[in-house]
Structures are given as structure tokens and as C-alpha cells.
Subunit: 466 residues, 4 copies
């Protein structure tokens, strides 16, 4: 299988970026912005720019740096452009991939739309069926096309009202960056499941999935878009509209803090890195162990491992080395042993592990296959004991809001108790961070976050669209 | 400039192909079929197949043989498929090209549609505007998307009625091959501007732009689709509906006989090759000249040249050799002399021309640039006289029905008299076939053909859509 | 199989081109030159240029227009360059292909060499072995590398003497174009098997496999390089050396006149087109038949068919239409019927053949598979009789001098009598041109040409190198 | 510039791998092996396999995962193969790149050679000239081709003697993996500048630049190849020959421990990770500072930073986040500010740095441009003080033994004192590890290592070949 997923991490499905202002090249700004969101989707990418009348766009499959050559960015650089949106995506592979790549671009009565969407509408099938009954057709498989058609249908309403119709009809997760009749639009669902923030660089306004994109392009973080808030940016500046007074339980996906977001991102004024550090500290309090070294599964467990090490006063050491080039490697079916797949990606330093009692820290266990191989590798390298510490609660139920999760019957924690998992993976001990401990680390109440993957409490609907 | 158009020929914009039946691989059948229509469009290609419920498709930019590798055809080969359509296109270049490639595929209330279109709707802008007012949006630049939306809008009508609505609204040229809820649909505009024919290979029904596609896949020509006729093919066989009783003046584009169609194609029971042969014979009667040899501009003038030679009793000889590999060559801007561009494509045999009086036969003069270079080359090779004979009338006005034509101010015959052109190109004489002579050659009245390019008589509307 | 050989024509293995002079871009001149020799090899191509001290080169697999983009030619354009050579090749496919692509470029004691070779050394294995015994190594599979090593070994001799050593050692066919210490070298084997000619364009000297390359770049044909002649071109002009006084029987490959060379080429002051025309005339005398039309297998049989038609006074008609795009098509193994393969390439015009007695003219029969399918197709199209006329004698024995031929047990004429072949291919009659008739057509004695493929008289050795 | 080098790290030029044994696919084993050496060269890669008589090989430009698709590895998998070598390279770009890619493959009198070389011969020019005088020629620009020709020249000697001749003539750095007449050869220069080790996996022998390649393929490290030692592996097992009794000062490149080798590699029985950890500890002793956090420049400074943190008892924290996708990004010339280039790769976590006194640890300073931008970024993120600690001495002089180094006038430490650099980069303090401290960390005397980049003591010659 080409491009095998060698470790069993969850995958965020999208990142969005938008900019409004006078730049030497808005396309280039968008490129740098979406580049810094590459971790949110690695399979297709697109940029659309507009001068207020016509929209030019380019989309392709692959990493952003493969899709956008310098020539393409030059082609997309037009001196009159004032607004741009960009998107990166974990998309379905194959021939249809390019059709579903975003931003989706369309013409409707009032002009052009370019739409970039992070999240997943849980009632897209129903919306689509209702629209089809009214005579609409769909050229993609994407739930995002529903939003386009709702906007076209409500063409005679003003922007705010038409987007209000989107909020009224759509259920689930959506953080949108949009070119809409020459304006830059940002919109976040009433629960605020996926992040979206506002930045400014001189006179140019920016919206982005994560603040790390602002840092990269040299912009300042202004604030997060609020749940249910519509942001309209044009020559007269930024206007804000609260489109939903539905006060929903739930909110930001707590896994953005645990794993998805980049550690240098700030969400709701909280540093993702520090949140992970605190999770590690809390985990040390909840699940101490006598050991000689603390070592992370790189890179996902590093922040929590440093926190654990400091709270537990056990030396932090890097004992597993990650091969930086592994993303594109194929694994032949012949190569049936799972361990070579893991070893291609992560390699142990025997001198670190020899005769040591090891605390191995990671952010989560999904299928549980990789952690088992890692423990085996670490023990072969000479470790006496391997104690696994996970900086989040057991992951028991799939996500329907924009994350690529295996079915429940492939989730280790949905099938087995921690003790069973511990035995299965040959760990000397295994502890998860408690939900209370997690909430204590990140601050806030249970109802402030979407935590359905730990609790099965799907406040925002759970019909996953195919 | 990469892929320079070295000679100034007109370009047909599309070819369509469809098949319904049980074949080992419908995708492969469609591939061979559309391959034999490659001369009708060289810039993008697509195939869609359906088992009656889901549609699989693949589209790409380039020649058919570049777009469709064996692997792609294998991927498109599903044992349950029963219907396929394919398309080849001369499309606008660049990033948007792939978006506009056909067949267009969409889902609407009743299922899937895959639509391949040859021709051009002259009122597409108005249709589009009307549909936008009703809340529809457009994701491509193509006039063909109008047809998709008309069908979606009329979803509660039966097939025949919905397609009747297309015929009622659409003006201009359209020969369609379509997968529509698991059936194969063929439809030709009431004037019958672009060709479309029906064939059969064992139990498999086929529709195609030209009968040469039938010959290639081993099918028999059954008959042409009539102007204004709708063909519906499913398990119960072929049904025919006459959707228009508008008896329109005009009809088949007469240039299909002159240049566009492949010589081995039969349209309206008439062999294209023989029609061209007759045009050459008629031309010899209308414009005789004392000469030593008759030679064609290959390949377009060959059939008429053979006819001229036989009627004039002057030996036929091939004096210009065509480089078969020229299609993809670039010409650098530095290479300003036009003649090297021509010589790369067509090279003279000096021994043929030395001291000879030459009749040079071609099908048409568009800009007039190439013929001038050719005459110069032939004279440098030693010819005493070059008499140009064109097997069609002066081309004075652009086509709005699916042909890529230069603007009128780039058409030699729109700007100059034949005498002026003769002098400009350094010919010793220049004669065009008369319109009457042309009609006599192909059979029929002036009103049986669209001949607006010679007469400016645009019976079917002339607003060219951008 | 991708890129199937659909008809069974022989394939020339190479074309060479060289230029010495001050041009705006020697690389571009070489590009146009080798482009016009594309018919001599379609699988790899290369250009090398030199300013007298350093050599820059680029080689790649595929058609010349695929290998050389405008950017590559620009990169190869250096203002001080004074000499260039180029090569096009039918090469072995796969990973090794690029290693064997030419020009071969090397550094030796006195400077750089870039060598382009058309032909095949029959004693390459022995030369290689001898050189290996002296401590030389070989990095390619090519016989051409022997010549490089002979030159390096004779580094202390002057140019003429070192090249004399090549002539002394090498047996078989070689027409060379070479950059050698800043000079342009042309060398032809003492039998003169492969063609090589000299041209001039203003102050720029050119050597090329065929004169059609001169015509394309706007140069005049000066003369052919003589068998055994060495041409050295530098700032002081052209010097000629006769390196061999061996007067060999045999000479120019007679198949260059029959099929390989482009019809607009002149070899030994004889037009290839006219030679083929004469072969057709002679064939009409030797093998007349009552018939209604003469039609060629396009494009290879056209010149002879016109000649046959005129001598026999039977109308010439084109009845088979060639698909210009067929070169790159794949044929799946599933598609077992040979006829679809043929039909993809050649399609009959039924109206031409209906109830006709047909003379079908081609230049040669190799395996005999295609001609059988063609006769079948023509008869299905309605022909009453098909009389096959071949404008060369039976091809009974493989070539060892630079042509890709099947083994003798795949050559129809090596296995069967003309009568047997006639029956096998379902022809109503079959006649080959006699060797005497061929010689009469082209002029000269049997010993003036290499005709081993007809006579098995391998004057120049027959050990084919792998 | 495409693929800009964003940080100014030195680049190792090559990695080699070889295997002898019966494996399901030796090519696949070699692929995994060389894949784990990707950090030693990212611009071209190759694998050669042999069954003892013929050699099959594939080479290409780009990352290993781009060059070797599954199909290519399948093609290279032959059931009889018994020996393989592979290479990865930082090579010169452009058309010539592929010519210089390794393994170099050649035929000489006794059979085939495939040669993979890590290092650089300092007297290659002289060897080449001497060989040219004897009549040898060179088809590449690579110093490695000298070794091929020396072997060919000494064809009548046995293997050991011919390779002894290589050792006698070649000066500089060379660690070789070679297929030589069906045997696997490993050879290391008498100083042992570049690493080379021996491993075993069941009955398969392996040699590799670093032991991390052994770990990846599941092999055990047997031992390092000794300086001046020749290893010959065939069916009868491993034989060892000491080809040089020259006891040379100098030895292993000390920068392998500092930066080049992967941390999970073991060289001379010493873990690279632990060596770096010790360097960090030693640095803390030599250059203590009052600070709040220790943070590395990821990934190169991490091991030393952990060591520094533990010895200094200052908390270790990751404050700079590395974008994993940056390798292929282009930077337009318009984007003149250096800082966006750095920010694309490394992004600060403001909450980590706010009001902190920071110890920033890296392994070396080459040009000094990146560290300056990083300090600026860290201070903008709120740091009060930034103290730079470098875990190696000032890098004052270029490497001639296989490392891509800038000229001396681009080396910060060659031009400025540490104080001047400190001021220039706006650090609050700057300290390098002393050479004595470095030797104390890694163990051994000054003469046990090549340390010319710190001392200009080029024991093995310094003529860098172009």
C-alpha cells in the first residue's frame, strides 16, 4: 500500500485560511498561511483569489508544496486582487479526489463564491435530499456543496440573512472561510467545534483555523471567532454578527488541545503547548510510577512527556528517533511484519533504554497496534519495564465532526478495558488521564467542550455522512 | 509557444460516444470509440460508466492516449456496468481546463447524470442568467452545465418531457450522448448541425459523433439520429421521440463534409471521402488550368486533389511531406521566420516540383498565412507556377455552433477579394469552389445545410457565448 | 502492452545531426534538425553543444518534443557555443534506456567527446573484449562506447589517425556525428551503409543523416559524405580525408530508398520519393493486373502506389484512412482480435471499395500479420478482389547493420513462398518487385547496395551484437 | 528558489548500504536500508542487485521514496539475486545529476561492478589525469569513477590486490559498498573518516554507513569496519583484509557525532545520542548561565539541550515548533525578509518564552543567519534574555572529505570572534563547547578524529575536487 498510515493517529480533515487586503501577492500570503496548516490535511489543497468581480483558483492533489509551484502562485498573483481563501484537506483518494478539493468555486446570481470548509455537517444527507427535491443538483460528494446551494437558493436575501439560513439548516461542525461577492467571510458553527481565529497584518485582515498561520505570515492574533459568529470583512473593515442565540452545550473539540492543533497555536487564549504540558503534569499526579526515564512517542507525546518528567522529577530523554522522510514510503504487502513498518518511522536508541524503567508518554491510543510494536522495540533495546501513560481518556467512540476515525470496533478502548489493553500491548502498566484531570488541565467545564469521543455525548447530532 | 498551431486550420470542438450493452469492458469500448474521434478535439478527454445506480468517471487534460492509461481503463472496468459515455474536447487551457472537461457528472433527485456535448448553445448566457435568478449556481464555464440544471429543475417530469424542455429552451448546436438514470440518451438539435449516428455491435447499442467510431469498434452503422430526435436506449431496446416539429431551415454543418469529419465517416448516407473527391472534380470543372501536376496540402487537401487530378487528367503527385510528429513541437519566439515553422511540418520534394506547373489543392483558407509560406517553399523548390485551388467557397464569417474560428478580422476572405489574396500569397492563380458547385457535389439545397461561414446566414442565432 | 507496434514495419535505429558555426542558438538549430529525423528513432533523444572547451548536453527518453522543452533548449543555449551534435534513437526500453541514450559524452586526455552514431558494429563484442583485456570498462550496453574507448586509447595520435584506428577496427555500419576537441566530425563506414550528408546554411556547416534535415533548417545540400570518408569541420572550414582504400562490395542500404528515409530526402543525388515512384512504375510493368483502383497502405505505400497507378493507368484512390494519434495507444491483452488493433490505425472507406477490384500497394511484408487484416477489412468493406503489390523483393533475412528486424523465423518470406503467403493472407494475387526491377528503379549494380535482407549476402559481416 | 535551504546546516553527501544473502527481495531490503540513511543525502538515490552474473540497477533524482515506487522495487526483485548495494546522495542539480547518481555500474573484463561511495577523494583530479594519460576516459564528473577505472586497469590482479591498489592511490575519505564479481565488498579509507559498519540478519550480511540502517531492517550490529579494512562477503562468509598499515593520524569525522549521524546510530560502540547528551552536559559545565528554561533548535540541538538542562538543572522545554513539511517549499525572491523563511520552518510558542531567560542550544553555527532570526523571533515572543550555547567548537574551515560546506568567507567563525558573532546575532551571551570539552565528551585523543573544520589540521590532504 502506497503511503501507508504507519502509526495509528487520528487525522484532522481540514484547515482553512483567508485574507483581505492589499498585498504584493495575496496568493503567496495564502500559500504561506495554508502551508502552516498542512498538519490539518495532506491530500489536496487549493487557493482562490478575487479582485471583487472574478475569481481565479487552483486546486490539486498532494501536499501544498507539490500542488503549488512558484509558477502557479505567480499565475494566481493579480495586482488587483483583494481577497483570498485557501484550504488543505485530507480527502478521499483517486479520481474523484480533485473534484472534491476545496475551495469550491461557483457563480450564482450575485457573483462568485469560493468556499473553504473545516468540519462536517451531520445532516448533509437530509439537506441534500431536500435541495434535490427542489431541483438542485450536486457535482461533488462533499457536504460543503450543500452550503453553496443554500446560498444560491437564498440569493435575494442579503449576505447576513443568507448565511443565517446556513446556520439555521446546517447541523454539526463548520468553520468557514469564504470569498462571497468580493468580501471575506468567516463563520463558525454555534457550538464552535472547530477553531477559527482572526488576525491582522498591517491593514490586511486574516482568518485562519489556527493562530500558527498568523505567526507564520507575520500577523497578530486579534481574537477567536466566537461560536455562531459571522465575520464579514471588506473595505470598510470587519463587521460581526451573532447568527445563533442557540446556546449549545458542548463546544471546542477537546482533541484540538490534545493532538490536532500545532503546539505553537493559541485557542481561546490558551497555548496548546502549555495545555499539553499541563496534561502531562496532571498525568504524573494521577498515575505516578517509579522509573528511570520519561520518553515521548515523538512528536505527538513530547509536550506531555516534558510535563510528566517535570512533575514526576524523572529525567526526560528522547529514546525514539523519528525518520523525517517516512510520509511517502510504501510498504509492500509482502512485508507482513508490523514491526518493520514501525521501525521505518521510529527507531530506538539502545543506550537510552538499556536496563532502564521507562515511562512512555503518548497523547492517545486509537487502534493500539503501534504502541504494542513500540513497547516490543523498546524492550528488545534493553528496557526492564515500560509504563505507558496516555495524556487523554480512553478513546471509545468515533468523531462525526470532521475527524477521520476508525469505526468503534477498531477502537481499542471501545473493545477492551485498560487492563486488557495493558496486557495485550505487553506494557508493565498503562494509565490514561481522567476526564476530570483533562478538564482541570485545559480549564473549564465538561459542557465547554465536545468530548463525545470519550463520553459518547454527541450533543450536535451523530449521523455521519458518507 | 508550446504546441503552436502551425497551420491555420479550423478546429472542431468536440466528439461524443456512448454505448449500452454487456461488454467485457464498456470503458475499453468507449476508449476505442472516442480514440477514433480524437481529430474532433485534442485537449481533454473523459469517460463515464454506470451500472444503473452509481456513475464512475475519469477525466483529464491532453490526448486520449495520455489521459487514459491501461490502469485507468482497468479501474473504470466494473463487471456490472451497462452504459458508458465518452468525450473528447478542444478546451480552454490552464487550470480551469479540467473543471470544464466532459462528461459533466452530477447527482440529482432521480439519480446520476453524465453528459457529453458536441456543439455550442448560442443562448447559454440567457439560460444561465434565468437559472441563476431561480437560485441555481454554476461550477463550470461551460454552456453544457445549463443542460444539467434544466434537467434537474424538471426532475418531476419523465425523461422525455425533461429533455423536451432542453430542446424548447436551448438554441444553437447540440449533439448529446448521456447517461441518464441508467439509460443511454442521444439527442440532436432540431437543425441537426453536428452529426450523431447510431450503431450496433451484437447486442450493444452505440451512438457516436461519426460512423468511423463504429467501424473502429467493429459495429454496424444503423442510421443517423435525426435532427430534433431523442433516442433512449435501455434493456428494452431503442426508443425514438421527435421532440421538435419546428422545421428549421439549415441543417448539417457543411464543413463536416469539407474538412472536419474523418474521410472514412458516412453522414446522411454519404461518404465524406467521396464528397471531397466530388468537390475536387467539380473544382476542376469550375477552375481548370494548364499544369503538369496536382498535389495536395496533406492531409486535408488529399481527397479533393485526387478528384481534381482525375477530372482534369493531370497526374496526381505528393510533393509535400508531412512530419507526423509535429503536433507537440514548440516554436521559440526567436524563431521569427514563419517559414521554418511551416517547414517543420511540411517539406517539399524538389524533384517533384522542379520546372513544373503545379496545382496545389487545399480544403480552405482561414488566415492565409500557411498557404503563402507553402507557395514560397514550392517555388524555391523549382516550381514554375503554383495554382491554388480551394475545395470550398471563401470563408468569410465565424462559426458560433461549436467550431473554434478566428474573429472576422483575421479571416482572409472577410478582408480581401480572391484576387487580392492571390497576389498576397504569390499564387499564379487562385480559385475557390462556388457555393453552387459545393452543393452540387454534396447533394441537396442551400437550406439543407448550415453554410453561414460562407453566407453569413445564421439561421440558428449568432450570439457566441464566452 | 503500451505503445504496441500495430503494423509490422521495420524500424530504423537512429538519426544523427551536427552543426558548426555561429548561430543565435546552436541547440535550437540542432533541435529542429533532429526533429526532422524523428522517423529514424522515437524512443530517446539527445543534444550536446560545445564552445570548444566544455560540453553541455541533455538526453531523455521519449519523442524529441517530449524530451526537449523550450526551457531545456534555453538552458543549452550558450552564446559562445560553436558546435553541436544531436541524436534520435529507437532504444531498448526501461531503466537502462537513458544510460544508452546518445550522444555519449566523455572526457579524455585531450578534452571532451560527444558522439552520435547511426548503425551497428558487427564486431563490437570482440572489440569490447579486447579493450576489456587492456583494462577498459564499459558503462553502457552500446556498441558506440567501443568507439569512445578506441579514441581514448589513441589519445596521443592526431584526430585523423585516431579516427583511422576506428575505421581499421570497426566492422559494420556507422555514420557518425561527433564533437571532438571542439571540431565537428562526420565519418561514414567504408561501405557507406547508412546515409550521411553535408549541408551549409550561410556560414554554418551541417551534417545529417538525411537531407530533409537540411531543408527543415533552411540549409543547402552540399553533398553526401563518401563511404570511408572523414569530414573535419572547424574555424578553418571543412577538410576531407579518405580513411579507407578498402573498396568494398556493397554500399548504401537499399531499404533507405524503399522505406526508411523520408520521401523528401535526397541520397546520392537521387530523390527518395522519385525512387519509390519508379519502383511502383516498375512493379506495374512486372506484375500488371486488371483492376478498378490502386490504393496504398498509408503512408509507406503511397509513393509507389502513385507510380503504379500512372504506369498501369488505373485510378489512384485513398481507401484506407490512417489515425494520426495512434502512436501512443495501448492495446490490452484482452483485446485479442488483431483486427481492432489494425482498425484503430487504419480504417477503410466502404464507398471506395464497394464492388471494386483493388490493387493494394505497400513497400514490404515483414511478418505478414497486418496485410492479412487489411485485406480482410477491405473485403468486408465490399471489395471484390484484392491484389497485393509489394515494391521490394521478399524480405528473407534479418539486418545486422542498424535496423530492428525480427528473427528469420518471424519473417513471412523466410518461411513461405509468395504463393503460400498469398493464400495465407487471402489475397487474390501477390507480387513482389524483382531485385533486378528494384535495381533498375534505383539505378546501379547489385554490388552498389547492401541488399542482404533480400539475398543473404552479408558483405560486411553478420554477427549481430546483443 | 525551489527547495531553499532555509536553515544553514551542513550537508552530508552520501549514505551507502549493501547486503549479501538470500532474501525474498534483496531490492526491498536495500530500499528499507537506504531509506533509513536518507538524512545523509536527499537528491538522488540508486539500488543495484546481482545474481552473480548480471547486474540490474535503477537510479533517479529526488528522495528515495520518489525514486523508488513499488513497481520499480518489484522490477528489481529477481529470485536469484544474492547481493545488492544502494546509495543516497546530495548531488549537483540539473541535467547532469542523473549521470552522477550512484551506484556507478560498469562491466570490465571479469564481470560487473556496482559501486556506492561515501566520502571524497582529495586527489581525484590527479588520479584522473594519470588515468587519462594511459588512455582512460570519464563519463561522469564524479571522483568515484576513478575507483572504477583503477579496478578495471588492475583486472588481472585478484580482488584484494586490485582494491589494495585503490587504497594505495586514493587519498581522502571513502567508505565503499560494492558489488564486485558477485561478492559484496566493504572498504574504508585508512583514516576511517566516514563511518561504515557490518551487520547480520539471520544468514544475510549487511554493510551500512550507519547502524540505524541495521536496526531498521531488523539486523544486529556486528562491528564497525576498521579504518583501512577490506571486507569481502560471499557464499563462504566474511573475509577481512587490512589493506593499509599506514597508521594515520586523524580518523572518524567528529562531526558525525555532533550532527551528521542519526542519534540512534552507534559508531565505534558509542551511541551518537549519548555523545550529544554528554556534549550538552559538558557545555553546561563550561558555560553555565542563570536562566529559566533550556530549549533546543529542533531537531539538531535537542539531544545536547536535554543534556545541558540536566547538568544545569534548568527545566527543558520545547519552545520552537518545526514544520514537518518544509523540505520542499519554495521561497519567492520577492519574499525578501529572511524571517518569514525561518518562521515557515520554526515557529515560537509565545507562552513558553514570555518573560523568560532562555538558553538556546544548537549543534553548530555555519553562516549564522538562521540563529540571528531565531533569536529575534524568540525575543519578539517575549523572552527577556537569549543565551546561545553551541555543542561544538567554532566551525572555522571547510571540509574536503565529503561534506558540503560553504567557502571560508561564508563561515561566521572564520570571519568573526565569538564576541562579534554574539553581538551580530543579538544574543545575550554565546558560548561554544571547547575542543577539549568535545573530546572529553566523545572520548579519545585529538588525533583519533578528523577535526580539521575546527583546527584546520587537514591530515588527509585538502585539495577539494570540483
Amino acid at each position: 500500500m502506497q503511503n501507508a498510515t504507519i502509526t495509528d493517529k487520528l487525522r484532522e480533515e481540514c484547515g482553512v485560511f483567508g485574507a483581505f487586503g492589499k498585498e504584493a501577492s495575496l496568493a503567496e500570503l495564502a500559500y504561506y498561511g495554508v502551508f502552516s496548516l498542512q498538519h490539518r490535511g495532506q491530500e489536496s489543497a487549493g487557493i482562490a483569489v478575487s479582485d471583487g468581480s472574478s475569481i481565479a483558483s487552483f486546486k490539486g492533489q498532494g501536499l501544498i508544496s507539490d500542488v503549488f509551484t512558484k509558477e502557479v502562485i505567480m499565475d494566481l498573483t493579480r495586482s488587483n486582487d483583494k481577497v483570498a481563501v485557501a484550504h488543505t484537506r485530507y480527502s478521499t483518494a483517486g479520481a474523484k479526489g480533485i473534484i472534491n478539493a476545496q475551495p469550491l468555486v461557483a457563480q450564482y446570481l450575485n457573483g462568485g463564491i469560493a468556499l473553504a470548509h473545516n468540519g462536517n455537517l451531520v445532516n448533509a444527507k437530509k439537506i441534500r435530499r431536500d435541495l434535490e427535491k427542489e431541483g438542485y443538483l450536486f457535482q461533488t460528494d462533499s457536504d460543503t456543496e450543500c452550503i453553496l446551494n443554500i446560498l444560491a437558493k437564498n440569493k435575494y436575501r442579503g449576505h447576513v440573512s443568507a448565511l443565517g439560513e446556513v446556520v439555521r439548516l446546517a447541523e454539526g461542525a463548520y468553520s468557514l472561510a469564504m470569498i462571497y461577492d468580493g468580501k471575506l467571510i468567516g463563520l463558525r458553527d454555534p457550538a464552535g467545534i472547530r477553531p477559527l481565529c482572526i488576525g491582522k497584518k498591517n491593514d490586511t485582515w486574516i482568518i485562519a483555523s489556527e493562530s500558527c498561520a498568523l505567526t507564520t505570515v507575520g500577523a497578530e492574533l486579534v481574537r477567536d471567532v466566537e461560536p455562531g459568529e459571522l465575520i464579514v470583512i471588506d473595505e470598510s473593515g470587519l463587521s460581526s454578527y451573532i447568527l445563533s442565540d442557540r446556546r449549545q452545550d458542548g463546544g471546542l473539540c477537546i482533541f484540538e488541545y490534545i493532538y490536532f492543533a500545532r503546539p505553537d497555536t493559541t485557542i481561546n487564549n490558551k497555548s496548546v503547548y502549555l495545555q499539553r504540558h499541563k496534561m502531562g503534569q496532571q498525568l504524573a499526579k494521577e498515575a505516578p510510577v517509579e522509573a528511570d526515564i520519561v520518553t515521548p512517542v515523538p512528536d505527538s507525546g513530547r509536550s506531555a512527556a516534558v510535563g510528566y518528567s517535570q512533575a514526576a522529577n524523572i529525567p526526560f530523554t528522547e529514546g525514539l528517533i523519528k525518520n523525517r522522510y517516512v510520509a511517502r514510503t510504501f510498504i509492500t504487502p509482502e512485508q507482513s511484519e508490523r514491526e518493520i513498518k514501525v521501525r521505518l518511522k521510529l527507531s530506538p536508541i539502545p543506550e537510552v533504554f538499556k536496563d532502564k524503567r521507562v515511562v512512555l508518554v503518548d497523547d492517545s491510543i486509537v487502534r493500539g497496534t503501534t504502541i504494542k510494536s513500540l513497547i516490543n522495540i523498546i524492550k528488545e533495546a534493553g528496557a526492564k519495564e515500560v509504563h505507558v501513560r496516555i495524556s487523554s481518556p480512553p478513546y471509545v467512540s468515533p468523531c462525526y465532526y470532521g475527524i477521520d476515525t476508525p469505526d468503534a470496533d477498531n477502537l481499542a478502548a471501545a473493545l477492551y478495558t485498560p487492563e486488557e489493553i495493558m496486557e495485550n500491548i505487553d506494557a508493565d502498566s498503562l494509565h490514561y488521564l481522567s476526564l476530570d484531570g483533562l478538564l482541570k488541565s485545559v480549564g473549564g467545564e465538561k459542557t465547554d467542550y465536545c468530548n463525545a469521543c470519550f463520553t459518547k455525548n454527541y450533543f450536535a447530532g451523530r449521523i455521519k455522512n458518507e
